[in-house]
Symmetry: D2
């Protein structure tokens, strides 16, 4: 029988947190030894989340207050931080000092530059010395670094859906310098599990709308990673939209091919990057991905088309924003860090 890695989850009361617990409760190589939440301290997992009744240890495991020393004592080897932006950083430092590796789902360690952080998040970064150590953890792009890391910054939901189709093309120099235009739609779970009138069923159900125009915070990490891939600054406009589904992100990107580049070259670059990746599915030319086929999974589906009239390449992707866009990608990183089969615990479709 396989030995299990002892893990803790900090701040598991939001939609990504619940999804993370769901995946960990069934992971063959993970043992959940602690779950923390200030507001839920003392309750069992299944008392708060009735979905988990009679599932694994959910009827017995109790939320505790977050405390690095206590987590160490509980034997935690790896801590998942499903905390709000700005809060993760408070816990990451003491956990790392105690030798506990950190897989963070917040935005706190995604940026390499403390200045860009300040520009987009409106305050000084509290631990800039950790930014150079953290790995921006797209497992299809940076597996080697992730395997060796002790501080994993899981990418944001929108960025994952935007970056994976673009990075191989930018690396291969297939796109022109024209600004990219990116339009994304996300389900309401991306907006969090907060008591907020604008997120009520009655407000969301018949609503289609953009938000955070023109400068969503995710632009900072998207820009950073595109620049690394391209070896130059990459300009883009990004408009996210909220649509009435529980989960799912559908992204459409308009790009311009560099002079002389053909669609066949685009396809070759995508195939080379992802044909052997278990969680990237290349659908083919003029094929539209559909979020319903990736919901609850770690897959990202990618399609593409050439609009010859306007001279534009159209890239399309679909993922589960709390799956590949957050929690299952965190598990994928966990598997890399621990040396497990990349698909361990991610078998559900």
């Amino acid at each position: 029988m396989s030995q299990k890695v002892k893990v803790a989850v900090l701040g598991a009361s939001g939609y990504s947190g619940i999804e993370l617990l769901r995946l960990l409760l069934r992971h063959p190589h993970a043992e959940l030894v602690a779950v923390t939440s200030r507001t839920l301290a003392g309750k069992t997992l299944s008392a708060e989340f009735p979905r988990f009744r009679k599932v694994g240890i959910a009827d017995r495991l109790t939320f505790s207050n977050p405390d690095a020393a206590a987590l160490k004592e509980a034997g935690a080897e790896i801590a998942f931080l499903a905390l709000p932006h700005g809060v993760s950083v408070e816990y990451a430092k003491p956990l790392l000092e105690l030798g506990i590796k950190v897989i963070d789902l917040s935005a706190d360690f995604r940026l390499r530059s403390a200045e860009v952080y300040k520009e987009f998040y409106a305050h000084e970064h509290p631990a800039p010395e950790l930014l150079s150590e953290a790995v921006y953890a797209l497992p299809e792009i940076r597996a080697d670094e992730i395997q060796k890391a002790r501080l994993i910054a899981c990418p944001g939901c929108y960025p994952t859906s935007i970056l994976l189709p673009l990075i191989p093309l930018l690396k291969a120099g297939l796109l022109s310098a024209d600004p990219l235009a990116v339009s994304s739609m996300s389900g309401a779970s991306g907006a969090g599990r907060n008591a907020n009138v604008s997120l009520l069923f009655c407000e969301v159900q018949n609503s289609l709308r953009s938000y955070s125009v023109p400068q969503h915070r995710h632009l900072s990490e998207i820009g950073q990673e595109l620049a690394i891939a391209a070896g130059r600054e990459v300009k883009l406009s990004f408009v996210p939209h909220l649509v009435p589904v529980y989960a799912g992100i559908c992204t459409t990107t308009f790009a311009s091919l560099a002079p002389g580049v053909t669609l066949e070259q685009v396809e070759a670059a995508l195939q080379q990057a992802y044909a052997d990746q278990p969680f990237v599915r290349l659908l083919g030319r003029n094929q539209s991905p559909d979020t319903k086929h990736v919901m609850g999974t770690n897959f990202i589906d990618i399609g593409w088309a050439l609009d010859q009239r306007a001279g534009r390449l159209i890239l399309m992707s679909a993922e589960d924003n709390i799956g590949k866009g957050a929690s299952s990608q965190a598990i994928q990183n966990f598997n890399l860090v621990c040396g497990f089969d990349p698909a361990a615990g991610l078998q559900s479709v």
Copy 2:
């Protein structure tokens, strides 16, 4: 008491048709004298559409087979065609010959060029001589022509949402020649009321997906009207998406300003075009329109933003695809043709 205009509706079994009937049953200056449908002939309106029980004449008016002479005999002065593309044209000709004005909701008379029609609809146009007479009827843009017309081509749902924000800017020469990138989301009513597995509740509810990439048929009329406004060809990429709402279109357009143009000039052009228009609502800078505020109405809401990092103007609009995008816009045109108050019968919010 006002005299009423006698109207007929041909082919009212789809979602736009039902919406048209809803509006006509309550219109203060319209008298519904005939409703045709081959498949429903003999049934009363309310037998087919239980929503209309005890509403106006819906319990008494019976669907008949479509026949121009019979409609003339019934006294019809104006005929609304809510027929499939390619079918409207068959009826428009005999109706016009009998002196009945035609307000067509299909795509049959939207294009000025029979060649472009053939390119996008894959067959010869059956009555090209009518194309020069028909008016592409955006009431905010072309009221004078509509008032005098006897053949009204109501714009498509996507085109309405895309054209209204862009036309004043192109007329004023505020946009550069860069290709536009347009991303739209539409509710499922836009896909029609047809027995089709891909439109079942269970297929649509958790689904976000693009379709008809890269060349949706509506590109033809959008291109035509943008070129007229700009006085030059205007290139654009257009990606429509299907999302799980009954109705509503939310459109986001990425454009480039011409050199030296400011956002203030954009705002002035929009204000000048629409401040006095009863059904266009300008929301302001960085304001995202929301389809829930226009559902069931004839309003289109427009917002805009300048993305200075990428040097892009972002235009955003929201409309009801079967309202301003189809049936209530048809009523707005009807009011123009008949010389009624532009808002007659369109008071509902």
Copy 3:
């Protein structure tokens, strides 16, 4: 031109309140002179509810603090109270004393007995002397009293859907004394527009659940009105369910026929009661009403069936919970109080 009655709306920030404003903004015989809300004081109607931009006086009318004297000064003749339960009563008294008639949408004046009120609402009724004056205002049942009343208690949403099918049968003595079993489903707008995690889109969208079992507060008014109709106590179990629609109530009632009673007698009693009522639609035997046909209207649709195996009568009804179940029924009562056409302002379908 018709003279208009000056009306005020107190507390119009919830879903019933918005629906009430929507109906009043377009009512041909109502002039909205004041809208109150402590939290929204100073804002215009359309600033808070973007749906109302460019509609009637919504861009100019400003929310004020609720104050009976100020409303009198503004000329209000009738006040609609769309306030929470327990708050309406505070305002009803001073308004009545100033000669302003009150149409209350809360539960504060629905019960005749202060004791029953205390049992179900857990505190003493603050103005028991008004309970005998108030009229429980089902317009199909009690039009005469409503016309003369100065204090109108609009029935609850569930009670309306349950009482209208049952009252004619109980009056005619067609049902046995067996306890009734009532199962209702309601859209989320019935739960209010409050910042509450359990009402978030992500919590409601995939959820079907009962609540307030076994004793929902509406049982008190249902029991009261059934007893009046039957001339005896009528026992019933009532289980409400929350389902993922914006609005709509679908009610199924299981009853036992009195010995010897036939389904034809049931049908005759329903026809006699409602055939001439403009807003009750009798669908017929074995016909299931559907909330989608009554949404946004003042209709209630009623069907019925006899289950001969179990010896049970099944009554089925559908209404819009914020329409016939709240705001449009309030308008129907307003029309009665003012002597207008019963359908004035209720023409939308």
Copy 4:
């Protein structure tokens, strides 16, 4: 490594079939050797169901025409029939004759009486000799018989949700002879994956309605099983409702306690029956189950309440109609037939 049982699935193109494939593709002890469908013959699983791309053998396994001999040749030991009612019976007989055990998800073998079958299904049963052999396979009630059976009739979705709460109470004699009243709500997947206008997204999304009133076909099997548990005929009225969710059944049952019976006795009977069952979760007194907590799982959640005013016991249950109500229950039966851990392959939450 565990040996795997070779299984075939016949007719896997509906929602239960897709769910069954999903569960079998990941089942640790099942090897999918054949999938049949006349209409899909020649396609791979993942070509038809894009969700299954890159999942197990879904990219390689091809639909074949249904043929018992070919399935035998392919090595199938157990065949799941996810065929329409009336079609399963055609295949069950030859499969059984070839020694292949049959787990049928249709209604073909649920009734013990060919006469009752004819009454409810309107034609003679084609293989009445098999009815006595088939086991009505509620695994919590009839595990011993299921283990030995070669023809398994999986219960219907509504019956599972109705029978599990009632059977222990009827066995213990706790309910009176009054007719039961049962109201159920089901998601649209229960209505099948057929091209049918009434099941379109736009028809279902805003709709709440009952159907098949007063005599749904499932009444036959419910009545049969209740009578077996009670040792007497049990009368019930049953009204199913269609509501806008993908999946989930929420059932509310009104019953009368036998004289002198207390709620504690009811609770004791439920605890005794189900405390040790892995897939039945007893929520407690006045606790309403919620379908969102059982979606995608094999759980059924049960709550109860005593309505003392009306003297009624209220039983409430929630299940996934294509999970515990169909496909995952079929897997639970498969595990019993094969002697596997009851929860094998049913770990997902």
